[in-house]
Subunit: 345 residues, 2 copies
């Protein structure tokens, strides 16, 4: 049986700010039947993750050149791999059966063919499937690894999170509150600030666009200094945070959204401060820590079941909405985890 | 008995590049007798350490405001505390006796009065006293802590050291060679480059002043990338190193001499690189790691006794030479540990 598969491609490499016009929907016939002897898995994509880091794969000089995984360069006209949830339509792979739900490497399209690499069977345990793209997927896990493994937090420490309403920040803030930290977030709208304080339980939050002096904003929110900074933005904010950090402060570099589309923009933290305050600044990728996934899942499901963990999802529908969903990340459109739902069944 | 004590002071706070004229020699009568009931220790200073970080204590806005230790702000007209070796002339403190050698917090002058804070009895074990100011003192210990504790090196890793002929860099390079690392250093003269390769056993070295493109220099010396960077200089070099680092690279921020006297000059490492390569950048101060001093001393004395460890000292004589000795650090005059000998007996 053959269907029409629609998927998103870039028309050419993207340097600078991405535009709607950089993307197009490609339509191709797609066979739902396995070739004899094939060990492919044919997947109907259900929910796919929309992440700002994808822009780094679309640049002329991609950070990584490994193909076919989450971080390799994306070629114009070719399928764009992404994290998501799907349903198996046919499988020649003994580990996957028809009608299994799967989570892992699919793509920004309606169907995927997988060889089982970076793909796992998914038992939804009664949770909405979309949770496994965000909170119970790589997004939540990134928050878990970055906060617990990289920041090594202690109860009572003062934690600052940028892009705190983003897919990772909103989870970090809740983990930090559960641990007994003092938690402040910044975001780009008064709505988000309200949500951080009223729904997610942040101790303080501010709209960085409305602050004339970030240093004053941080001094107001952190009269006793910052112990931990979970950085999703880079740029000037990092500089100001470092100058407000306490001794032995830790910075987890998770994302640099303010620098992704502007190669000239760079953070210039005062390294004398970094020395005298013995600050550690650490970049991390979640793929190095997959052995922690089971403990992450156990804890986070526990938090969900006891009502301690709020879920923020921002779901758009249909493959055609992927480019706009992606572009919106760079203007702060999203509240929580941005996901595109590809099929209603 | 009263003598004349000469010591160095700053005339006013120093912002920007220090000049000879910023310093003066102060002369004061100094009693060598203890007041009855006093528990002071009266010390004749023998060797004192000359370190570039002292400039940070002399700025209008000092990094730290704690007085009377190694890192607090220095006030114009007042004694400048520094690390060094002396001899006890009189003691009201039960832990110190006349004629004991001591090591620790003395000052840029001929005599010190101590309450025993940051001061230890010294058994020279047959080594020259000056060794305990440099290689067997805080300088060598800083190299030890920064390399072994902060960089967590493994045999075979590729190590880069800036200011590699400086008081700390030259020791780091030798530790790294002893461990079985590939070691490259940069320095500011062809003499120093020669010394690094021929006397200290560095695998490669280059004169950064003669390289038109630091990136090309690093690519030439590190065809397989850099695993560890021991940073004594900050500024542009850090940026170029980060772009040549391997995954899971580690940067120990030990000093920022290129930024000490130029507040505008800042490193701008590409933090996207730091994330994708999971690099850790860590500032440290040796005072946090004093529990490691015995193991450092044991190992380094062992290296000295087996002839594996070369000592580079750059000793000037007389209290009056301190300002010039200090200023010379910022123009790269020194080769190895810069020390001023205050007395010939």
């Amino acid at each position: 049986m053959e269907v029409t598969n629609k998927y998103i491609v870039i028309k050419s490499k993207i340097d600078g700010k991405p535009q709607e016009n950089d993307f197009e929907v490609k339509t191709e016939p797609f066979s739902l039947s396995l070739k004899p002897g094939s060990n492919d898995i044919i997947i109907k994509n259900l929910y796919v993750s929309i992440d700002s880091y994808q822009i780094n794969r679309m640049k002329s000089v991609s950070i990584s050149h490994k193909a076919s995984d989450f971080s390799g360069g994306v070629s114009p006209g070719e399928v764009i791999h992404a994290y998501g949830v799907g349903k198996v339509l046919a499988s020649g792979n003994a580990n996957f059966a028809k009608d299994d739900y799967v989570v892992g490497l699919i793509n920004w399209g309606e169907y995927s063919i997988s060889q089982g690499v970076h793909l796992n069977k998914l038992d939804p345990m009664g949770f909405p499937l979309s949770y496994f793209v965000g909170l119970l997927g790589l997004g939540g896990f990134t928050a878990y690894v970055g906060f617990f493994e990289i920041c090594k937090p202690k109860k009572g420490e003062k934690v600052f999170i940028s892009a705190a309403c983003g897919s990772i920040g909103y989870v970090v803030g809740q983990y930090a509150k559960h641990l007994g930290c003092y938690v402040v977030g910044c975001a780009g709208s008064s709505n988000k600030v309200k949500l951080l304080k009223e729904k997610l339980g942040f101790d303080e939050a501010f709209n960085y666009k409305e602050e004339t002096d970030l240093n004053i904003a941080l001094q107001r929110c952190f009269p006793d200094g910052i112990d931990i900074y979970f950085d999703n933005v880079g740029g000037e904010m990092l500089d100001v945070v470092v100058s407000n950090m306490n001794s032995h402060g830790r910075v987890a570099l998770c994302g640099m959204i303010s620098e992704y589309t502007n190669a000239v923009k760079r953070a210039t933290p005062d390294l004398l401060n970094v020395i005298y305050k013995r600050i550690t600044i650490q970049g991390f990728l979640v793929g190095d820590h997959m052995h922690l996934f089971p403990e992450f899942l156990k804890m986070t499901i526990g938090d969900l079941c006891t009502g301690k963990m709020q879920v923020l999802e921002d779901v758009l529908v249909g493959v055609e909405s992927i480019p706009a969903a992606f572009l919106g990340l760079f203007t702060g459109d999203n509240i929580g985890k941005r996901i595109v739902q590809l099929s209603l069944n």
